[in-house]
Subunit: 365 residues, 2 copies
């Protein structure tokens, strides 16, 4: 099995490749003899080692400490210095293998190494496959702000391989599923949501989960669908200067505020986004954008997925604190407070107005 | 007086604006009420303060320490944190006013701030006007390597204003003149060099120099010519993936090696480039690319400009060390050892071959 989805982000072609097994270094390099560095964390080091080609000299991956608290400039500098020590030039290749933190850090380092070196990513969490590794956003945290510094720098190739999901903790799995549901909502083809419902049932009936499900090809289809949607939105708006890419923030304004109000690191990104999507459905219903039937379908998927979607979220019972975080997020991002809500098909961007205000007051007042 | 030269670098329009006097903040902002931060060093703080608009709240520029040794991540982080403290969003504006170090640092910080904020540059040295502030290269030093990390991020506007050159030390002035000569060599119109010869005479006859010369409009013409040439080469090859932008490295392979061999900071960039251009003329003569008449004209300009062009350069008498630096530069940059030499018109890119090797052996053996 090998399927390729090439996208054009700005002037750059970025190809997402679904493969049955991990590629070897020899297959990853863009040309023979290219210098490279493999970046991983302690959880993905064993996968990084599997990239070794039998016919090649053995290589040592650079192993960074895992965790959001290590997504900082120090990590970026370690990558840059190690690449320099290994003699990489601008024509060298950075290969990041790991979850979203490793792919974001590797991609950012590649983007500034001699003003831009080669980049290939191998996401190893469902979340990174659906979201972080696709579309060229890179970054790291600074001064307590998530992804405060970064760049737009798409990988030339992103390899998606089931075996990398082996051993992914259940909670991480759920975190990725929330983004998968989100992307299905954005799909203009409403059957995308039905397919996820089937997947849901399959999981119940056959007791399959994780990589097994992936191999069963249903999940792979859903994932390919998500990649296709995200790719199309990013192609239409590579640097989020328009309104297309913003649609990917469905559930995120509410979700980010929930993460802040609960304390960073308490909830997974997916848990926060799932809760945020439930709010977006309520708001969309209130404003007349979201048909009731569609809102029920989405919240049904979220409930069966085991996500907490009640107000207030038990991890952030203080509604006032939540509202502060919601307006703080707006300030931090320097933009308007905008929401994305499910439409009849796909999703719609909604500006803050008196009706939005009234929904917020009723719900969080 | 106000002349604008718009360039298209990749997908971005970057306009170089020659003005009679410094613009005020109100004229610089891209829209009313835009948040901004002004970045300068202790030499340009007085100019930064002149940007204040009478009708605006007063502002405090961020004053960074000057000097190559301060062109580091710490400086970048200071800019990022200060911008965050002042509440700038992605739609905020970074205004860098200073020499190449300040414009490079400001531009790099803007390029990664929330993945890219607004950027306007006001170069205050001849070198930054001809080179650093034009064309989108940003960067800082890391691990002893100059501009080792960076990005391509053109300013939306670059203001070139004579009064900023007031008090520019003679040596800095000479450093910029070398780049001005270099760019005139790259010009396909051979009269560009003749114009510099006239400028040269004017300086001798009238005893004018620096800003006075600028105001006399001869230098302004030369500068506008240089901006036009650099802009055209960058438009043709914004990220140096082709061969056009590499022509701007005329004199730089030799010059960088000289800087290294002499010890970083001993020579100005222009002094090193001038010496490198003399070598490029010799090499071009040797290979039959550079007509003797043209080589004489260029070295004549360099000599009258007061540049040291003998071999070995008194600051780096050890030829072996120079040759090591020359091949080290090649490794560091991860590319081939290539040279740019003056052609009949403009310049030509020359790959390393046995004839180049023989020139190097005869000259530095």
């Amino acid at each position: 099995m090998s399927e390729s989805y090439p996208f054009r982000f700005g002037g750059v072609v970025s190809t997402v490749i679904f493969r049955g097994e991990l590629p070897r270094i020899g297959e990853i390099l863009q040309r023979e003899g290219q210098d490279f560095i493999v970046i991983c964390d302690e959880h993905t080091e064993f996968l990084a080692r599997r990239l070794a080609s039998p016919s090649f000299e053995p290589f040592s991956p650079l192993v960074l400490p895992s965790g959001e608290e290590n997504k900082n400039w120090e990590a970026v500098e370690r990558i840059l210095r190690e690449a320099a020590r290994r003699g990489l030039g601008r024509d060298g290749l950075f290969i990041g293998i790991g979850g979203g933190i490793i792919t974001d850090l590797s991609a950012f380092a590649a983007s500034i190494y001699m003003r831009g070196a080669g980049l290939v990513l191998i996401p190893t969490t469902l979340l990174a496959m659906v979201d972080a590794a696709i579309g060229g956003k890179t970054g790291f945290d600074l001064g307590g702000l998530k992804n405060f510094a970064g760049s737009f720098y798409p990988a030339s190739a992103v390899f998606i391989v089931p075996e990398t999901l082996e051993g992914l903790p259940e909670r991480e799995w759920k975190s990725g599923m929330a983004e998968l549901i989100k992307t299905a909502v954005l799909d203009w083809d409403p059957s995308a949501l039905d397919k996820l419902e089937e997947l849901d049932k399959l999981e119940e009936i056959e007791g399959q989960s994780g990589p097994a499900l992936f191999k069963s090809s249903r999940l792979k289809e859903a994932l390919a669908g998500a990649v296709r949607i995200k790719g199309a939105l990013v192609e239409a708006d590579p640097k989020e200067t328009g309104t297309k890419r913003a649609l990917l923030n469905l559930g995120h304004s509410f979700g980010h505020a929930l993460e802040s109000a609960a304390g960073l690191g308490k909830l997974t990104h997916g848990e926060a986004v799932a809760w945020g999507m439930a709010r977006s459905c309520e708001l969309g219903l209130e404003l007349g954008f979201t048909p009731a039937e569609r809102a029920r379908k989405i919240t049904g998927l979220l409930e069966r997925g085991g996500y907490e979607i009640r107000v207030p979220h038990p991890a952030a019972p203080d509604k006032e604190r939540f509202m502060e975080a919601l307006s703080g997020d707006k300030k931090k991002r320097g933009g308007l407070l905008r929401f994305v809500v499910p439409g009849k098909k796909g999703a719609e961007l909604v500006e803050y107005d008196s009706r939005v205000q009234s929904y917020l007051e009723v719900t969080f007042g």
